[in-house]
Each structure stands twice: as C-alpha cells, then as structure tokens.
Amino acid sequence: MATSEQTIGRSDTRGNGINLVLWAILLLFLLTAPAYIYTVFAMQLLCFALFACAFNLLLGFTGLLSFGHAAFFGAGAYLAGHAIKVWGLPPLAGILLGTAAAAVLGYVIGWLAIRRQGIYFAMITLALAQIIYFFGLQLPFTGGENGLQGIPRGHLFGFLDLNQPLVMYYFVAAVFLIGFLIIYRTIHSPFGQVLKSIRENEPRALSLGYNVTRFKLIAFIISAALSGLAGATKSVVFQFASLTDLHWQTSGEVILMTLLGGLGTIFGPVVGALTVVSLQHELSSLGSWVQVVIGAIFIVCVLVFRRGIIGELARLLKTSSM
Amino acid sequence: MAEPAATTTSEAGEALLSVRDLNAYYGESHVLHGIDFDLRKGEVVTLLGRNGAGRTTTLRAMLGLVDRRSGSVKVRGHEIIDLPTHRIAHLGLLGYCPEERGIFASLSVEENLMLPPTLGEGGMSVEEIYRMFPNLEEVRHRTGMRISGGEQQMLAIARILRTGARLLLLDEITEGLAPVIVKTLGRMIGDLKQRGFTIILVEQNFRFASRLADRHYVIEHGKVVDRIDGTDLENSMERLNRYLSV
C-alpha cells in the first residue's frame, strides 16, 4: 500500500511560491469577502471550511475516516448555544465552552473507536455519533425537533456588538484563521510528521516505537475540538443549533468537502467547502435534488477524481504540497 | 537468446508447451526478462536457480498471476498470454500446485479436494485418489490447517489430479518436508510420469529433482541461462553447483 494513489491522501511539506500565492489569496479573501458576497453566506462558508480543515487533519493527515464528525460540530453548537442563551455567558466564553465540550466528546469517542481500524473505525464513529444525535433529539435542554433557537449574539469582549454584520464577520474570520493556523502548525510539527507516517504505514510507525494509539487519539481530539469550534461559531452566527448539525448527512458532507477539495492538502478543504456550500445555495430551490447532486459528486470524486481539486492542481503544477 | 535445439534426449512427442520471450512485471519491477523453454508431452523438466531468480514467477506468469506480462506462451497450440487467468487452466489443461501449497484453511480436506473444477476427461476419481493417498481419506473431514505438512502437500497435488489436468506446475513441493515424505513424493512423480503427465518442477532440492527430470533449465535474473539434459547431468555437476551455490 505504498504507491501514491493507494493510500488516503499524501503530501510533503516543501514550501514554495505557489503556497505563498494561495496564502495571499486566502488572506485577501478573508479581509474583503463582505465586499462582494453576502456576509451571512461568507460566515457560513468559513464555519464549514474550518470544519472541513479539522476533518482533513484526521482523514487526510492521519488516515482515519471518521463518519461521525457531525457529533462534534453539533455538540459544539448546542453547548455554546445553551451556555450563551440560558447561562448568559458572553459569546466568546460560550464558544470556548462548546469547543471544550467537543474536545471531551472527541476524547471519549476517539478512545472507543481507535480500538478498531479502517472500515470498522468509520462504522463505529458513525454509530457513536448517532447516540449524540439521539441525545440532541431527546435531552431536555436541546429543544427536540425544533433545536435551540434564539441564541443571542451579544457583545464580544463586552463592547464589540456582534449584531453588526461586519463585526460578526471579522470575528468569524479571526476564528477561522486561528483554527486554520493551529491545523497548519500541527501538520508541520514533528507531531504532524508522526501522524503522516502512521497514515503511510501504521505497522512501521509502531515498530519505530511510536505509541500509535496515543498519536491517533490526540489527532482525533484536536480534530474534534476544532470541529466543535466551527459548530459553536456557526450557532452564534445563525443564532440557532439544530438537529441537522448532528445528523449523519452533515458528517457525510464534511467528508465530501474534504474529498472534493483534496485529501491531505492544506487548502483543499477550504476550496471543497466553498464548492459544496455554494452548490447547496444554488440548488436549494430544488429540494431533494440537492442530495442527488451531492451523491453524484461523491461518486464521481471517488471514481475518477480521488486527488480532489487542489490535489489535481498540485499535480498539474508539479508541486507536492499545497 | 539461444533457441533450444531439437531435443535428442527424450522420446519424440508433440510439443506441448512452448514459452518464448516471456517477460513479467510486478508493479514497476521487471522480474522476467525473456524466458524461453519447451516441453514435450510426457516430459518432466525442472526450473533450477537461486531464490529470487524468477522460477516461481515463471509459473505465475504462465498462469497470468503477475501484474503485466508479454511474450508468448503456447499450450497445445493455444496462445494463452492474453487470456484471463480463469480461462488458462481450462484451455491448457493446467494444474497448479503453488508454493506453500495453497491449502484453504476454511475448507475441509474433502472440500479442498473437490474445489478445482473439472478441466477435461481422464481425471482421477476420488476413489483412485484416496487409493493413491490413503492418509487423505482418514483426515478428509478435518479442516485444511489441521493436517500435517506432508498431508497438505499430498492434498495440494491430489486436488489437481482430480481435474483432468495433463500439465502439472509444481512449485517447491518438497520444501520443509521430512526425508521420508520427500521419498514418497519422488515415487509419486515417477508414477505420474509413467501415466503420461507432463510436469514442470520448481525445486530447491536438487537431489530430488535430478532423479526425475528429463531436462533442467537454470534460471538467473529472470532469464534461462543454461539447459542441461538429464543424461548429461554427471558431466555438468560442476557447472550446476556454480549456478546454485551462494
């Protein structure tokens, strides 16, 4: 399983000019997006892009396919929402609490799921996330089918009014950038190198003396926490948390974003999220056809486009890391 | 590559198998670089050589069990180089006994025996097989992994005798077996030769092979580098030892 297409995702870390260009585009986009796209849409985009990047840390850089990442996204959303709305916490504290909750949940689910590998890991995470979904449906504070509504945006640091769209936007952009940098740093740290060696060849990583289980678990927790951060931020932006956030289809969508953008690439998940979220907006009038289109993209990606958009681009430009 | 001259050592028979310029690849690595050899009906030949020389790959390439191959393999006049693996056994009446025997652990001895499909007329009946290998009848309800190595080897050969295969490809059948069993196998090969089977032996155990074979092909680095007739063996020992010594 060592040749390039047979393992899930792959890259190395040589920086180059193209990377700088992509960084520049990303920062420029973050700064200027409200000038040319609808602010709420831009914020939704950034939340999902962060979610996809967090997911990619696990699938693309560690080789673990979690089919239950909606649990962390949703848990972050519900907990932040509840903390802000019912306990009256300020927005930032609520978001951090949601993130922490997702991290704890990630610890529990990861600790359980890591006992099995590959395809079983995917099924186990899916099943465990379903427990969280039913909690979302049945627990007294979640609002059942209606979800948690009317979460106030409040004031950041006590004086920045998040009800101002631009203030809200730049807050979300900052959250995204911080999350993105954390992931970037993780990937390029010695820790990230070990993750990649686990992805390439787990038995070899084991024989080199790495505590593979521990590394996988830490990666899982980081990924879960950042997914929770994305969900929590989303709940403040939209002022609600709903069962959709916890649903398996959300887990599927984040996989698609990552796959479409390019597994194991740095900017791929952002591009993937941009594509999928835009598509959902464009097709939202078509009802269930959205699902058909999403499914069809999945099929095409898996069959003929396994490198994803950024992965293909990197191949065309003959660079190894984007 | 020297075209093997018409053989004078074996009785004249029709050419059953001819392999020409056989190349084989596993992924990117080029393992066989143009193997040539011929086999007449009723002959026993061995493929000798060091580990990794390409002997097993030669058999596997004939069966289409490599990633890519080129050249020509003709069995009974049929070109089989481009055929999918599952048609080759039928067309060539080929019986394959792989390295490590290939006994199925999840199948009983009898299920293992009955597994390969019938290829043509004249295969041995189950009764005949149990007469030839009485041990197998005793253990026929055990699973494939709960019988001795010798019994496994018997089973691996027995199951291809049932199918009506006439050309047997036997890969390292003596490996890891006690001398007394190797002796039995030797008698069995002699017996099969008497019955008119054509046999290719891939062997490490040269003493075992030398007494049985009409001809020996020495393979090195994916090529046939020498051909030694069975009758000429005494005079060629020194040469052979040089090929096979490490």
Binding site: L65, L112, Q130, V292, G295, L303 | P84
Partner: protein, 301 residues
Amino acid sequence: MDVMMRLILAQGMLGLNNGVFYAMLSLGLAVIFGMLNVVNFAHGALYMLGAFVALILSSYLGPWIGLDALHLGFWPALIIAPIVVGCFGMLIERTMLRWLYKFDPIYGLLLTFGIALVLQGLFSNYFNSAGTPYPAQPESLRGVVHLGFMVFPKYRLFAILFSIVVCFLTWFVIERTRLGATLRAGVENPELVQAFGINVPRMITLTFGFGTGLAGLAGVLAAPIYSVSPLMGANIIIVVFAVVVIGGMGSILGAITAGLALGLIEGMTKVFYAPAANTVIFFLMVIVLLIRPAGLFGRQN
C-alpha cells in the same frame, strides 16, 4: 401469567420482528464484505429500493404503462423485487465498485455512501418522506394469531419465520455446499481459485448481487409492516452497522445471531426504559468494544 411477563414477551416478539431485518441486512453486509472487502453503505438504500419496487408493482406500474387494472401483489413482489435490486447491485459492482478494489477499502464505503444519497434523494423527490402505506398485504396473511401470551399479527409472524428460513438457507449454502466452499476459498485466496479455472470476477459480481438481493428481499418483507419511505434505509443502516460491529463481520452465523439478539434486546428495552430504545444497540456496541474489540464472533486480527 403476570402483566409484566406478558409485556416483555410481547415486546420481545416485536423486537424479534425488527431483529430479522437486522439479521438479513447484516448477513448481506457480511457476505459482501467477505468477498469484496467493501462495506456497502448503500445497503440501507437498497433495502428501501426493495420496498419501493413492491409498492410500485402494486400501485404505480399499471398506470405508468397504461394498464390501470394491473396490480402485482405481494407474492410476485417477493420474487421480483429481490431480483431487480440484485441486478441493480450487480450493475453497481460491474460499472463502479470494480475499479476501486485496488485502492483503500475506504473508497468503497465512500462510493456506496454516494450511491445511497442518490437513491434516497431520487425517491424523496417522487414519494412522501413521511411514508406511503403498502396496500397489497396478502389476504391470506391478514388477521392475527393467538400465541398464548399475546395476539400477534399473522403477517409479522410470517415475516419472522420466512426471514429466519432465508438466513438459515444462506448459512447452509455458504457453509455446507460445494458452491459455498468455492466462495469461502475465493475469500481466502482469490488468486489461486482463479488459477484453478474459476471465474472469480464473475463470482464477485454474483456475490454482490446476492447480498444486495437479500437487502431487497428484506425491503419487500418490511413493506407491509412499516410504511414505505425514502428514509427507511438511512434509519436502519446505521443500526445495522452497529450490529455488524457487535457481531464481527467475519462470521455468517455471527451476523444472523447478533441481528436477532439485538432486535430482541431493543424490544425489551421498550418495556424497561423506552427512551433508551433508540440507542441501546449503540451502547451495547460500546460495551462490546470495551470487552471484545473484534466483536463477539469476530476473529481478532
């Protein structure tokens, strides 16, 4: 008999009713996984497809082709639907799955997930998500049977017995016949089986067809019990995944037993603590993961 006991037995029977569907679906998944090393995420969607084929045969096909009087009932559906679904499965294998065997098995899961979304989306467009009742339950299976501790719908009893027979037959064919021996050998060493002259690619296609056909059959059997809904497959497949993790995918008998037992347990949970009925199977999965990570009947490797 006291009330509690009756209640337990009654819920047990209903649970068993769900259990036979879990068993049939996890059996199909196990058969497919054994041969193809693919976890078929579309299995739930194909179960839904089976139910819809039955519904279409009874209510829609006639009007579509201009024969308003044509209503193909339950018995024809019981034969036609699994064949239709099985053929659809083989088409999927031939045209798509086949190209992924050389890659990480995760891609097979993702591909079939995409197929599941497409199927679910398509049926959601044309049929009510809340479900359509299946109108053609056979006359001979209407009414109830008295079981002593409860009255039980005749049809449900039929579905339970029929499914158990199908599961047993599948087990018998795989474990006790020559055909089954060939399949098991193909799982163990496809290369050698191929060298013996058996057409393994065709065997793989047929196996996938059979496994998906089982899902279709389960769908037809489920149609008269639950209403036929585009979402019915998605709801059941995740539970069946948990069943498969609990049973271990290596064993045919394990898949059947785990399916039946977990259906029963789920039913019982309704008696003791109803809110947990949705999640009890997932929690059992957690416990099994803690004690025997390979699953109750799985081989550790």
